[in-house]
Amino acid sequence: MSGIGRVLVAVYGVLALAAVGRSFVQIVSKFDQAPLAYSLSALAAVVYVLATIALVRAGRGWYRAAWATIGFEFTGVVVVGTLSVVFPELFPHDTVWSWFGRGYLFIPLVLPLLGMWWLAVHRPARHETDAA
């Protein structure tokens, strides 16, 4: 990971921190109000952390892990985002992904796209593949 990819990692790191922080507050202070939404928040936070780590590490295993975690995030933001718009009563409590991440300046929607673009143009080289 080099060049502008470092900035991508930094933004992922900030988002991971935001998701972990919010999830921590939700679970400590009001978990019983919406166990499903807050469990989803916690899962999303863990996946953001994993995605950040996977982007930093080299090798084919981490490259696959990066695709899996970033794909999961993108699916999450699209599915939960759509549901929160169409059936707002399903998500009375905020999650990172409600309204396509509106509470986070839509970063949760844009970032996976940038991440997938980055992964697509930076496939691990053959020698890295053998080492991994």
């Binding site: 790191g13 922080g21 507050v25 400590v28 202070s29």
Partner: protein, 122 residues
């Protein structure tokens, strides 16, 4: 929380963020100016922490969740040192941009702290 101080802090963090983004995109490796700007952002965060701890004793209470407030404080305090550590480890233009991203994230977080303190109902 002291409102004017908080706004000054947001302005400083935004200025530091834009400065570092500018320096980074201009191709500069992290220099004293960029790291100094981040140090100032961190110093103001520490001052804010002291103010927040002292404020309730003077009848200035948070209207929102104190737990959420301090989660933001701790998160924001972590960012400048993490970005600076990275900048010292890997000296290239993009680590200067990362310093800028950290400062802008701090600006957003301080703004959220102000909202939690002043307008959010617990």
């Amino acid at each position: 929380m002291i409102e004017w101080f908080t706004w000054v802090q947001v302005a400083v963090a935004v200025a530091a963020g834009l400065l570092c983004l500018g320096l980074g995109l201009a191709g500069r490796v992290p220099n004293d100016l960029a790291l100094g700007a981040l140090a100032l952002v961190e110093l103001l965060l520490l001052a804010q922490l002291v103010v927040a701890i002292a404020a309730p004793a003077f009848g200035n209470h948070a209207s929102g969740s104190v737990l959420e407030f301090y989660t933001y404080v701790v998160g924001a305090l972590l960012l400048p040192p993490a970005a600076a550590f990275w900048a010292l480890l890997e000296r290239n233009r993009w680590s200067t941009v990362v310093l800028g991203v950290a400062a802008l994230a701090v600006a957003v977080m301080v703004y959220r702290m102000l909202q939690i303190w002043t307008v959010q109902q617990a």
